[in-house]
């Protein structure tokens, strides 16, 4: 068995283990061991990838494994990774690992909770390793559907409404993607010959322009819904705020990145001509996401809503940067995905922990938490500073790269839009600092909150893991950006060759 398939097999084995154990206490242990193993595997993969690149392997995708599945439609199970997917896999492994510890105290139907959570992660891992559109789509849907159960059963607030809204919107998006994929497939051999679902092979041909004009918007919007593209972002605040902690972490941290990754890998990579022609429409929509999401976060009172809107803003920035279609901006987009994934997972973990103690998420019902739970509060400040792009954390590197790249675009329209989008940095600072001021500083204004206990060991594991990696990317971004950059090279070359700026 090849190393990439293991990323799907380990979750499946973990699920089997969870089903087999009798004691619900062991469920946590099995999940932690399984996902810990997955994290180690991600590290091994990263190491193998870097050493292979140093050894001079220049293949576009590495560790490729190809098995024919449905031969009459030329559907294969094909997996392979480049630097971008390796980075995403590491991110997923980290967030899932942290998520397991953040949900250490789930009591109700514990077995089912961990099974759904790990099933979701299996879908995400499968998505990132696939280079066959059919398999990719299969894993995408596999990642979406457990959300319904996770939010519906273990959520809070209007959970049934939120779960239904989220599931239907995301499945609606996948319906668009399905049509897009079929369209790409039936146009993948314009000169005659074998039709294919393989991304690498499709990227070698030019899909006819008439088909591109039809299927690029479908595919981009389809993936864009998951990446919170305005006006299809409305599932995100409701879904994130109703979901249990680990699910919010995983969803905002990883699942939303499926949108950015898919828009990049399928929509832009396979149909660059239409992307260039139509990018102005989506640039406008994404800049609305960026600015509107940030303004939305300012007026919210619920911690999870604040963070959900901030996710809309940050993920909008990912799509925004991808559409600029140059090396720097795209590198920034990928770093932003990783950085936002870690940051938002940290945020949601902390919010979950604070909520578990104070039993409220309304910021005006809390105050002065710094005095009672200093560890969690300091971590919250760190997450906030990372989110508003303070140098030294990953957010700064990502946003800096994105805006520098976006401003390189030669056309005036794109530069103006970049300036508009860049204003979100200021707005972000407003809502982050506002929350920190109200929530953490000042006197303790609620007597029930005077005797809270600080983080337990498993919560510290979860939080510290995430902070370490945020700081690591912020302080030493070059390893990551060179890994991404070299993998972007063939893609950007393809775009530039077709559309010299």
């Amino acid at each position: 068995m090849d190393i990439l398939t293991l990323f799907v097999v380990i979750p499946v084995l973990t699920i089997t283990g969870i089903i087999l154990v009798k004691d619900t206490r062991q469920v946590k242990l099995v999940s932690a061991v399984g996902m810990g193993l997955q994290l180690i595997m991600a590290g091994v993969l990263l190491f193998l990838y870097i050493s292979a690149r140093h050894a001079g392997d220049t293949a576009e995708m590495m560790f490729v494994k190809d098995v024919v599945w449905f031969s009459s439609l030329n559907i294969h199970y094909t997996v392979g990774v480049d630097g971008i997917s390796v980075a995403m896999i590491c991110l997923t492994a980290l967030v899932v690992f942290a998520g397991i510890f953040a949900s250490w105290e789930v009591e109700f139907l514990r077995k089912e909770f961990f099974i759904s959570l790990i099933l979701l992660s299996a879908g995400v891992f499968g998505f990132f390793i696939s280079i066959d559109l059919f398999t990719m789509f299969l894993f995408y849907e596999l990642a979406v559907i457990p959300m319904y159960i996770l939010i519906g059963i273990w959520g809070s607030g209007p959970k049934e409404y939120a779960a239904m809204k989220l599931t239907l919107m995301l499945m609606g998006a996948s319906a668009l993607i399905l049509v897009g994929i079929l369209g790409i497939y039936f146009n993948s051999a314009p000169g005659g010959g074998q039709l294919t679902f393989n991304i690498l092979e499709i990227s070698k041909v030019t899909i006819p322009m008439s088909a591109q004009r039809m299927f690029f918007p479908l595919t981009f919007v389809g993936f864009g819904v998951l990446g919170a593209l305005f006006p299809f972002h409305t599932w995100s605040p409701d879904g994130h705020s109703s979901a249990p902690t680990a699910v919010s972490m995983l969803h905002a941290g990883v699942l939303m990145k499926l949108g950015g990754y898919g828009a990049f890998r399928v929509a832009i990579f396979l149909m660059p001509e239409a992307a260039k022609e139509l990018s102005w429409i989506f640039i406008i929509l994404t800049s609305i996401s960026v600015v509107y999401g940030a303004f939305g976060a300012i007026v919210q009172k619920d911690l999870k809503y604040i963070n959900a809107y901030s996710s809309v803003s940050h993920c909008g920035l990912v799509l925004f940067a991808i559409l600029m279609m140059n090396q720097t901006a795209m590198t920034g987009a990928i770093i932003q995905m990783i950085s936002h994934g870690l940051m938002t997972a940290l945020f949601f973990a902390l919010i979950g922990m604070i909520y578990g103690r104070t039993h409220t998420r309304m910021i005006n019902e809390m105050g002065g938490l710094m005095k009672v739970i200093p560890f969690l509060s300091v971590c919250y400040v760190i997450a906030g500073l990372a989110s508003l792009g303070l140098p030294g954390f990953s957010g700064f590197v990502a946003e800096m790269t994105i805006f520098v790249g976006a401003f390189q675009h030669p056309e005036m329209f794109y530069r103006i839009v970049t300036i508009v989008a860049a204003s979100s940095i200021v707005i972000t600072a407003v809502y982050i600092l506002r929350v920190i001021a109200i929530l953490l500083l000042g006197p303790v204004n609620n007597e029930h909150h005077e005797h809270l206990t600080d983080a337990k060991w498993f919560e510290k594991v979860s939080v510290i893991t995430l902070i370490c990696f945020i700081a690591l990317i912020g302080l030493a971004p070059f390893g990551l950006s060179s890994m991404i950059g070299s993998s972007l090279q063939p893609i950007v070359t393809k775009i530039l060759a077709l559309n010299p700026f």
Binding site: F70, F134, E141, I145, M171, G172, L176, L182
Partner: protein, 473 residues
């Protein structure tokens, strides 16, 4: 008749022999032991099903009235598997006190409908086709009225027989026009003479409407919900899966072999009717509280998706249709199996009764979940693969708008399937359905359904086999 003739006809002959054996067994069994005939029927149908898988020569019999080929044998096998599942599921129900005296009639009538379906599929002549169609329909009407002392069941029987005779009349009228323009009723003789003249188009439309009644395609679906609700659950599942599957198989064979010339006409017809069928089936399903009615409307919308596979008119199209029917048999019978089990144990059939089912009967809920996910087309269960291929078959011919409408319909469908999920997993109930232990036969049937739902998708060999046997225009 030579031995070879027997071999080619073996599925029909074995079924007739099985029916006769059940009849004889009924005479010789005591009144108390009548349920033995149910076990016997299951075993006999099992033997027929297995016998169907042995390879036999293809060919024509009775001067071209009867045609057999690989794909036809496959279709019959699929129907046999489905019927076997229905048989196993209904053993418990037939054992009940009030049905026990009619046990052998129940199985006898079902076997004779299967004979009818087999002749329908193998027909090479419109009269043969028509006889098969009637043989496949009339016994089901008797079965729908099985609980003849309950008003709803009697109503279902009457509704089914009236509407199906009306549709048969329309169908025959259409056939008479075809006969008038071509002078023959042999498929092989008609095909080259179909030119698309106005009267032929009219005849075709009448023929299609007659078939649309059987498949319950909108706007010929109005009988469906009432009949499905009134009839006993096992008959409802039989009607919604086996009868529908047989009609779909026959329709695709006749469209591909008799009417290939007017493909433009029937593509337009199917384009419109499939959109109507999906959309209306889905919209009505949302409002249903009774799970039998719910599944009835869901099965109407499923027929709409199946029609997408017709659009291609090629080998891929036929393969996807057969493949989807196979998956549909497993998933719909899985869902109906759970409804039957719960209805037998508690008599409850409403969605509200299912609140909190997962906490009392987790296994049944999981079977229901897998079946509904398969119907909705969610991976990794088989429905996903089936739907994907159906959509691919339509997209291959460039009907992207149709595919978009179809995928949007799957979202509506997902909504109401999730409502059932919500009732079972999320809602809480003061009086949930108590835990009960299903009997052996129910568990076997549900086990086969779950295995089918899980394996049919991943095992690409099944699809490839179906595709190799299928043919295009």
């Amino acid at each position: 008749m030579s031995l070879g003739t027997f071999l080619e006809l073996r599925q029909e002959l074995l079924l007739i022999a099985a029916a006769l054996l059940v009849l004889i067994a009924e005479i010789f069994s005591d009144t108390d032991k009548k349920r033995n005939t149910s076990r016997l029927s299951v075993i006999l149908l099992g033997i027929v099903t297995i016998a169907g898988f042995f390879p036999v020569p293809s060919g024509e019999l009775f001067g071209g009235m009867y045609i057999t080929s690989g794909v036809r044998v496959l279709m019959k096998n699929i129907l046999n598997i489905g019927a076997l599942l229905v048989f196993i599921q209904s053993v418990t129900w037939v054992k009940k006190e009030e049905h026990n005296d009619k046990a052998s009639e129940y199985f006898l009538l079902l076997i004779s409908t299967l004979v009818g379906m087999d002749f329908m599929i193998s027909a090479g002549h419109f009269i043969m086709f028509y006889i098969g169609l009637e043989l496949a329909t009339i016994p089901v009407a008797a079965l729908a009225a099985f609980d003849r002392y309950t008003n709803k069941s009697a109503e279902a029987g009457i509704k089914l027989i009236l509407s199906s005779s009306l549709s048969s009349a329309i169908l025959l009228y259409g056939l008479s026009m075809i006969y008038g323009t071509t002078g023959s009723l042999y498929f092989s003789a008609i095909a080259p003479l179909v030119s698309g003249s106005n009267i032929q188009i009219l005849g075709f439309i009448f023929f299609f409407s007659g078939m649309a009644f059987k498949i319950s395609i909108v706007p010929f679906h109005l009988w469906t919900a009432d009949v499905y609700e009134g009839a006993p659950v096992s008959i409802t599942s039989y009607l919604s899966v086996i009868s529908k599957g047989a009609a779909v198989f026959t329709l695709i064979i006749i469209l591909f072999t008799v009417f290939p010339v007017i493909i433009g006409t029937w593509q337009k017809t199917i384009y419109i009717t499939s959109i109507l069928t999906m959309t209306i089936g889905n919209l009505f399903a949302i409002r249903q509280q009774n799970l039998k009615r719910f599944l009835a409307f869901s099965s109407i919308s499923q027929a709409g998706y199946i029609l997408l596979g017709f659009m291609g008119g090629n080998q891929l199209g036929m393969a996807t249709v057969i493949y989807y029917v196979l998956i549909y048999i497993f998933s719909n019978l899985g869902a109906f199996g759970v409804v039957t089990a719960i209805s037998n144990a508690t008599g409850k059939e409403n969605m509200d009764d299912y609140n909190g089912l997962y906490h009392t009967n987790p296994k049944l809920s999981l079977v229901m979940m897998l079946s509904l996910f398969s119907l909705a087309g969610i991976p990794p269960v088989a429905g996903f693969f089936g739907k994907f291929f159906l959509f691919a078959a339509a997209a291959q011919q460039g009907f992207y708008l149709l595919v978009i409408i179809a995928v949007l319909n799957t979202i509506i469908a997902l909504y109401y399937y999730l409502l059932v999920m919500k009732a079972m997993f999320i809602n809480k109930s003061e009086t949930p359905i108590e835990y009960f232990k299903s009997d052996f036969s129910t568990r076997i049937a549900l086990g086969i359904c779950v295995a089918g739902v899980v394996v049919t998708g991943f095992a690409s060999v099944i699809f490839e086999m179906i595709r190799d046997l299928s043919f295009g225009i």
